[in-house]
């Protein structure tokens, strides 16, 4: 077996960098999931304890533990795309 090329190593490193980024994903009919290194604060900059590595932020407005999601989107039949929607460029 030949040794991995420099390009391969660069590629592998780039992949690691990607994993180190924060990723925010809107899920269909549900919350925004936040993964990776992030800091959650209130508007005065005080940290809000996330308590887990992946968190769900409410985007339906009905959670009783905002900014976190508490599953209320199901009861209120919240509908939204699992991605970007309705956005216009001028």
């Amino acid at each position: 077996m030949s040794r991995p090329s420099a390009r391969f190593e660069l590629g592998a490193r780039r992949e690691l960098i990607t994993v180190d980024e924060c990723r925010i994903t809107p899920y269909r009919d549900g919350p925004l999931l936040v993964r990776g290194p992030f800091k959650l604060t209130d508007q005065d900059g005080n940290e809000i304890d996330a308590r887990r590595e992946t968190i769900a932020l409410c985007r339906c407005g009905h959670s009783k533990i905002r900014p976190f999601c508490d599953g209320s989107h199901t009861t209120t039949k919240f509908r939204a795309a699992g991605g970007s929607e309705g956005r216009r460029r001028t």
Partner: protein, 330 residues
């Protein structure tokens, strides 16, 4: 786990053999309602327990003993057949996320969580916790059997959920530990298996379902469907259970339920979209079983809930006793 008392021919037969060193034995043909019989489900629960924490005084070599496995399979065949004959075969149209959501909406049983929230007594809440201890003290373990049977996206998603169930590296945050804390706060015995003698078949069946799915590779789709619906139907009831405890003044016992409101709102999305939908896309042949696992969970949970509600409506304990004239108290 220490050995329970037998409840009928199947569990008696098994316990008589288990206390001896492993040997060949022939099995009686399984009797009783495969969806809820106390004897049937205790016997099956004991077989599965050999794969989890083991049974006190029972040789560990029984785990892969061919007679034990044959006996277990004879129960599994009847259990699975009974489930499949109740659950309609799904045509494979429509996207899986929508169809799984629809499964959770077919759940028409009277809401146990609403009853608990507004009406339950502390004794009834403690009974509920005792029933659930058959699973929660090994929470997440049955679904972990499926990890080596998945690959790619579905595997990564399942492990993301399980890591959180197992406390993301801190033993005191393992969900099974949080449940044990709740039991302690309610002055219940949180030792693993402490209450197996009083847990009826209808409750053990809900746990046996997950063990059967998890231990049979061919049922990996059903495990994934089961976990998806489990996570999808968790946050809202857990908020109600936490609120029941606050109403009853048991504020020190709420952590497990509060944690699940928040955690399962995360798990729901991962389980539904990243795990179940990804698996259906990568292995379309498993779609039917994903839905089967989902419906089987809803079915058995409904039977469990109506057992509790009807026992309490009749002002009786919902726990198992071999002597109906001796009321149980926890």
């Amino acid at each position: 786990m220490s050995l329970p008392d037998p409840r009928g021919p199947l569990s008696r037969h098994l316990l008589e053999h288990f206390v001896q060193s492993p040997h060949e034995f022939s099995s009686p043909s399984p009797e009783g309602d495969p969806l809820g019989s106390d004897d049937f489900h205790l016997a099956l629960y004991l077989c599965y327990e050999l794969h989890y924490r083991g049974l006190t005084g029972v040789s560990e070599a029984w785990e892969w003993n061919p007679s034990q496995i044959a006996f277990r399979q004879s129960l599994e065949v009847r259990f699975e057949d009974a489930l499949r004959s109740r659950i309609p075969v799904e045509s494979s149209n429509g996207d899986i996320a929508t169809r799984l959501r629809a499964v959770t909406e077919t759940d028409s049983h009277p809401s146990l969580a609403d009853y608990m929230r507004f009406k339950s007594t502390i004794e009834q809440f403690k009974e509920f916790v005792v029933h659930r201890s058959a699973y929660q003290l090994k929470e997440a373990d049955p679904h972990s059997w499926v990890i080596p049977r998945l690959s790619g996206r579905a595997k990564a998603a399942l492990v993301e959920i399980q890591a959180d169930e197992y406390g993301s590296g801190s033993a005191e945050r393992i969900h099974a530990r949080l449940f044990a804390n709740t039991m302690d706060a309610l002055e219940l015995d949180s030792d693993y298996g402490a209450y197996v003698d009083v847990i009826p078949g209808v409750s053990l069946a809900t746990v046996n379902l997950m063990s059967m799915f998890g231990l049979n590779r061919r049922l990996r789709g059903a495990t994934v469907g089961h976990l998806a619906v489990f996570e999808m139907t968790s946050s809202i009831p857990n908020r109600k259970y936490a609120s029941a405890l606050r109403r009853l003044g048991a504020n020190g016992a709420t952590d497990f339920f509060d944690e699940h409101v928040e955690a399962d709102a995360v798990h729901e999305m991962i389980a539904l979209h990243d795990m179940a939908a990804a698996l259906a896309e990568d292995e379309p042949a498993l779609t039917g079983d994903i839905l089967f696992g989902a419906r089987a969970l809803v079915d058995l949970d409904a039977a469990f809930a109506s057992h509790l509600m009807s026992s309490w409506a009749a002002e009786q304990s919902s726990l198992y006793t071999s002597d109906a004239s001796a009321p149980l108290s926890l």
